[in-house]
Amino acid sequence: MARALITMPKSAKRGEIIEIRALIGHPMETGYRPDANGKTLPRDIIRSFVCRYNGEQVFGAELHPAMSANPYIAFHTVATESGTLEFTWDGDNGFSQTETVAITVSG
């Protein structure tokens, strides 16, 4: 389990645009770097990041090796209703992690 950090408001007014920041610990090994013996380290990256709001995808990202280690993505979404935001990262070597954050939407 990698360490993940999601920063977003826990509550919002209906229709308000909120900013979500997602940070996760992952080496994002490019597949181009040599090790101490000169042998190329195999690629090991997160390939996709998806945000689902009460089950519906509201944002997605397809990551390539040019994304930095410990990938950070900040994006926006409209606070439509109370519920759960689900953040899923999938990648090489069966990497898969989901974090959930609850949101209360009033008005």
């Binding site: 995808q57 990202a61 390539h64 090796p65």
Partner: protein
């Protein structure tokens, strides 16, 4: 030039080309065109925020903003970032939609060397817009030893 010398030169040329390939301007242009749906994107509506001179190519913060009302009828469908000189021209592709509210995305990317970055936004009407930035990347002065 005799045939033998021509063959040797051809082999030499092939060996030079066979080194770990870096993305080329042509590859980047092709990737941009493919993402834009065949057409060349127009410059405008997209802002690519990145420092002109970065501290370290391992983590270059960028922000892509697209001027769009993000309504059901007029919104950004996807944003892609391409580079010119990394081994691969793709960096990241974001999928948006009217639920985004704002077409502003920030992340950190790797840049192998000083080069051009291009951000392209594809709209729901099929149009594509882009912004370009030239970034200078300095390398660390002291290299870490083993252990």
């Amino acid at each position: 030039m005799n045939l033998r010398r021509r063959k040797l030169l051809a082999i030499a040329a092939a060996l030079v080309v066979a080194r770990p390939a870096l993305a080329t301007t042509a590859e980047m242009k092709a990737a941009i065109a493919a993402f834009a749906g065949g057409a060349e994107p127009r410059a405008g509506r997209v802002t690519l925020d990145v420092a002109k001179l970065v501290d370290n190519g391992n983590a270059v913060p960028i922000t892509v903003s697209v001027d769009s009302p993000m309504t059901a009828l007029d919104h950004v469908v996807a944003i892609a970032v391409f580079n010119e000189r990394n081994p691969n021209t793709d960096v990241v592709k974001f999928a948006l939609g009217p639920r985004a509210g704002k077409a502003v995305v920030a992340t950190r990317i790797r840049m192998a060397t000083s080069q051009k970055l291009v951000a392209v936004a594809r709209m729901n009407d099929g149009c594509a817009w882009s912004a370009t930035a030239d970034v200078i990347v300095t390398l660390a002065a002291c290299v870490e030893g083993d252990g």
